[in-house]
């Protein structure tokens, strides 16, 4: 005590009392402070990250001069670029050639490798890529790899990589350096590779010195998507009138990184969870203050007897919680800043951008200060005011601690009474637990909410998984191979069957199509899949309308993902599709489930619509020809199917066919799942924070129970209880509370799962997710709960076992 005499000398005795009380009960102080700080630092992390990420991402995105629109043409040259650049409605334009190749990893596995040839690396005007390391620009026979490719596939500067073009020729390129392309979804989200070469290298590989991608920046209002759409559509029409073949027009969200809106949504979701944890920390403060105030009755009486007024006494105890708040703030601020840094780096890495600027906004500090100081005061207000009302008379004649009325007739009391087979002392302990009903409630609720949230995250995972399954279950096939040009169906089928492991196959037609909206503007791009009408390779669950029938002509069955994207279109409506420059009216006759891959982020799949093979082949003039081959294998495992896929690739290659990569459905599922886990992981992290608050609350309650039962424990000790048995009593009590919270949490998890699934579904997939009750989550939470119970009981149990008879009798 003498140690802090000097520091405290300047303080009024009542404030000294506050500090002493905090110091006397260090464990209690630490618990409260930590619990409050969790919500405060979580807010700090998320709010700071929101601002910092947004700032960095948008600054960086604007700095690359992002394209307002991109057109994919068959071929064009510098003359066209000059013409386009001179158009008054176009501010800037640039041409590039992108082409698909494959890259062989050191493991021998082939991965998709999209190469882009850039004419002048020193004068990129739209969608700039930036020099990361190594040499720049790439020389002859050299390639720059997108930096996420290098780290994900473990390819380094100076490595030689073997690539194979679509006409089957192999080339060795030297990795000259790394580049950063902010418009690309990084390899760890979609495991493709991206690289950049010079036109000289392209020509060496048999390409031509022409472009196929035209990126433009419109003049005028660059934020106005409708304006951009109008300009781009006009340009497209003009190009087509001039005889160019335009395959595709893409207008992304203007001046916004493709993942920016997803990022905001994730942040919002996490913010909600952190707000919950903040609110729950109030419960712990309430419990703690209620207990402190109950123990302080006599002291309050003394203070009043020597002239303390009610307001002064309230001030003393508000001072106590204020110190809790200040300490919580001191803990939360650095964690908030450091955590935000970590989180920002994680996200920046995930999305593949750089953090050039990191600064915690002042308003975040201000909010955190407010949060840290207000929560304790609000939560403690009732117990403090209530106790400060006690009269001196009541306080000094108060023998024994009659904190809450002991009711023999209450329900829980009787329930505990009924429990059989528990040792007497445990029963005693439980009875006390249940008598403190308010405290029990306030301990249970945070744990139950943490549990419900945790379980709900598993529910969301199950729902997303179900969505993936639904998407995948459309296809009753194992492998698919897309040809770069049509081949005779009978021929490719027969050849496929000759590969060992392939047991069945079916030839389909495919086509890219663009929807032309009712107002004549360009809508989303879709892929048409045209299987034979009697196919059993597709098992579409029809949600509305019907499946394709023999004799169907210009009708299509769409996925619900497309209809969600196109409000105003329903089953039975007409829809205009542009295929190969020609517009035709089709009719939507049916709706299936989701067809594009479920996942987070852009580029995870275009919606698919199904049409009749005969009709599509006829309008394309490719009857009897296929651009896609679906196959079934005799192996069901991923590795086995991958093996067959590679054999199939080899075989087609040996025949001189121009093919893309053979994809196995299993691998498609895996890619989707990887993306899903990023989101699930973040949500689990927040659920874990909630659990921490719950666990701190439990520890707090257990400690209070022990403190208030000091005398009782002393008496047990006096009549022969061992350390071990006293510890046991405490731990059993903790476990009982936790099991109860688990049961409540499981019930609560049903609405929580529904809410979270809907939020996630609407945000990321634009639809409600199917409800899935996560039995797995319930089981895992049970296991975690028991761990939490034990951890939370250890300290109080230790404390209880140290109580001596003498101490217990001196206790008041």
């Amino acid at each position: 005590m003498n140690v802090n005499k000097h520091y405290l000398a300047a303080l009024k005795p009542r404030w000294r009392k506050v500090l002493r009380d905090l110091w006397e009960h260090k464990a209690r102080t630490v618990l409260v402070v930590l619990a409050v700080s969790v919500g405060v630092f979580a807010f700090g992390i998320l709010a700071t990250s929101r601002v910092v990420l947004d700032h960095n991402l948008s600054t960086e995105y604007l700095a690359i001069h992002p394209a307002s629109a991109s057109l994919v043409l068959r071929s064009f040259d510098d003359d066209l670029i000059d013409v386009v650049r001179r158009l008054p409605e176009i501010e800037e334009a640039e041409g590039r050639r992108t082409f698909r190749t494959r890259l062989q990893r050191s493991s021998g596995e082939w991965i998709e490798f999209n190469l882009t040839a850039i004419a002048d690396y020193e004068d990129m005007r739209v969608n700039q890529i930036w020099h990361q390391s190594g040499s720049w620009p790439p020389g002859r026979h050299e390639v720059l790899l997108e930096r996420s490719v290098a780290s994900y596939f473990n390819i380094h500067e100076g490595d030689e990589i073997l690539i194979e073009t679509s006409d089957d020729k192999q080339y060795t390129l030297k990795v000259a350096g790394l580049a950063h392309d902010l418009t690309q979804v990084p390899s760890h989200l979609i495991p493709n590779a991206t690289g950049f070469v010079s036109f000289a290298t392209l020509e060496w590989m048999g390409g031509t010195r022409t472009y196929n991608q035209l990126d433009i920046i419109v003049a005028g209002d660059q934020r106005n998507k409708a304006h951009i759409q109008a300009v781009a559509s006009d340009l497209k029409k003009r190009l087509e009138n001039d005889g160019y073949i335009v395959f595709h027009l893409d207008v992304p969200e203007p001046l916004q990184h493709p993942m920016a809106s997803m990022l905001a949504a994730v942040n919002y979701l996490l913010m909600v969870l952190s707000a919950i944890s903040y609110a729950l920390s109030g419960f712990l403060i309430y419990n703690t203050m209620a207990s402190i105030m109950a123990q302080q009755r006599k002291q309050i009486g003394i203070m009043k007897a020597v002239g303390g007024r009610q307001r002064q006494i309230i001030e003393v105890y508000l001072g106590l919680v204020f110190v809790f708040g200040v300490l919580a703030l001191l803990v939360a601020l650095p964690i908030g800043v450091y955590g935000a840094k970590l989180f920002c780096h994680y996200i920046a890495n995930l999305i593949n951008f750089d953090l050039h600027y990191f600064q915690v906004p002042r308003w975040v500090f201000a909010m955190q200060t407010l949060m840290a100081l207000i929560a304790p005061v609000l939560a403690a207000l009732y117990p403090i005011i209530h106790s400060a009302r006690i009269t001196v008379h009541a306080a000094i004649t108060d023998h024994g601690i009659a904190l809450e009325r002991l009711r023999q007739d209450d329900l829980t009391g009787r329930l505990v009474e009924r429990v059989r087979g528990l040792p007497r002392p445990v029963l005693l302990s439980l009875r006390n637990t249940f008598r403190r009903q308010m405290r029990l409630m306030l301990t249970l609720v945070p744990l139950a909410i943490a549990g419900a949230t945790f379980i709900a995250v598993f529910g969301v995972r199950a729902s997303l998984q179900a969505k993936i399954d639904e998407t995948v279950s459309l296809y009753n096939l194992h492998l698919q191979i897309i040809f770069d040009r049509p081949y005779r169906s009978t021929y490719v089928s027969r050849e496929a069957m000759s590969v060992p492991g392939v047991i069945e196959s079916e030839a389909w037609a495919t086509s890219a199509a663009t929807i032309v909206l009712q107002d004549g503007t360009i809508g989303p791009a879709i892929t048409l899949l045209a299987p034979p009408v009697d196919t059993d390779y597709i098992r579409a669950a029809i949600k509305e309308g019907r499946w394709l029938e023999p004799g169907d002509k210009n009708v299509l069955v769409v996925g619900e993902d497309l209809l969600n994207e196109l409000p105003g279109y329903h089953v039975g409506d007409d829809i205009v599709l542009e295929i190969g420059g020609q517009r035709r009216v089709w009719q939507i006759v049916g709706k299936t489930g989701r067809t594009s891959s479920a996942g987070t982020g852009p580029g995870t799949g275009t919606p698919i619509s199904f049409v009749n093979y005969d009709y599509l082949a006829r309008i394309q003039g490719t009857q009897g020809y296929a651009t896609l081959l679906a196959a079934r294998a005799d192996r069901l495992d991923t590795a086995g199917q991958e093996q067959i896929a590679r054999a199939l690739e080899e075989h087609f290659k040996s025949l001189g066919l121009v093919t893309g990569r053979v994809r196995t459905i299993n691998l498609v599922v895996k890619d989707m799942t990887v993306r899903m886990y990023v989101l699930i992981g973040l949500m689990l992290l927040m659920a874990a924070l909630l659990a921490v608050v719950g666990a701190l609350g439990l520890t707090g309650t257990m400690s209070l129970n022990i403190l208030e039962r000091t005398r009782e424990i002393g008496i047990m000790r006096a009549i022969g209880a061992t350390n071990r048995s006293i510890r046991q009593i405490v731990i059993i009590e903790g476990n009982v509370i936790v099991l109860l919270s688990w049961a409540v949490g499981t019930v609560l998890s049903i609405p929580f799962t529904k809410f979270l699934s809907d939020a996630v579904g609407l945000t990321f997939l634009n639809e409600y997710l199917p409800f899935a009750f996560p039995v797995e989550g319930v089981a895992i939470w049970l296991g975690l709960s028991l761990v939490i119970a034990t951890l939370a009981s250890i300290l109080p149990a230790q404390r209880a076992s140290q109580i001596s008879v003498r101490e217990a009798l001196a206790y008041e």
């Binding site: 005590m1 000294r16 007897a305 002239g307 303390g308 007024r309 009610q310 002064q312």
Partner: protein
């Protein structure tokens, strides 16, 4: 500073014509005081029609059997408890009309209380326990306070224990500390409810001497005691039986 002066006016001042503001002639005047407690078995009358006048400088012993109402009576005077019926005037204050808040404030300045069980704040040192009333009532300039508290501790002869926590002191030492604290704000009235009841006779004698010294300083003293010897050394004795004051012979 001005605040202290204004609040000084809370202190008891004798009126010009020998009466106090509310017309009471005695420093402490209880008029027709009755106290009922509600119990499960119905109302219990702990004090019945008590009338009592105490002048400044008197030393009063309150005696009576256990349960007769002694504590109840002194609790009326300190404002710790309130009468069911009747009026209490102390100096210029009509205690029965003050609310809890005003009472606490008034008590801090005007009455020092010593309980049977020492009732010190366990987490404050002895010195700090003495500073607490001055702090609450904003008495004396902060710099004077420590000096004053130390003087009081010297008077009760425990100055060397000033920086210890109450638990480190013996019962007698704690009671001395409690008396010193009762004097912290230099109140004109000191009320003690069995201050020596828990002490051995030698310690009790020493503590009693402290009270006798207070009288020489012009304080008014009210002491509940079971000790006949002590009572005989006190100016005046008030005997209570079943809640009623037994008239002097």
């Amino acid at each position: 500073m001005s605040q202290i002066i204004i609040e000084e006016s809370d202190r008891i001042i004798r009126g010009g014509n020998g009466t106090y503001r509310h017309g009471n002639r005695h420093l402490i005047e209880l008029r027709d005081l009755t106290k009922n407690y509600k119990t499960p078995a119905g109302d219990f009358t702990a004090l019945k029609d008590v009338n009592l006048g105490i002048d400044q400088g008197e030393f009063i012993a309150v005696i009576g059997k256990s349960g007769s109402g002694k504590s109840t009576l002194v609790n009326m005077i300190t404002g710790i408890d309130r009468p069911t019926i009747g009026e209490i005037y102390i100096g210029d204050a009509a205690l029965h009309t003050l609310n809890e808040e005003r009472t606490a404030q008034w008590r801090g300045r005007n009455v020092g209380i010593v309980f049977q069980f020492f009732q010190l704040m366990p987490t404050l040192t002895i010195l700090e326990n003495l500073l607490l009333p001055m702090d609450f009532c904003n008495m004396y300039a902060p710099r004077e306070r420590v000096e004053r508290a130390m003087r009081l501790l010297e008077v009760v002869e425990i100055a060397e224990h000033a920086h210890k926590l109450p638990a480190a002191l013996s019962g007698g030492q704690q009671q001395r500390a409690a008396i010193a604290r009762a004097l912290a704000n230099d109140p004109p009235i000191v009320v003690a409810d069995e201050p020596t009841g828990n002490l051995d006779s030698r310690t009790a004698e020493a503590v009693f001497k402290l009270f006798e010294d207070l009288i020489t300083q012009g304080k008014t003293l009210l002491m509940v005691t079971h000790d006949r010897d002590q009572a005989q050394r006190i100016h005046r004795t008030v005997i209570i039986s079943d809640g009623e004051i037994v008239p002097d012979d």
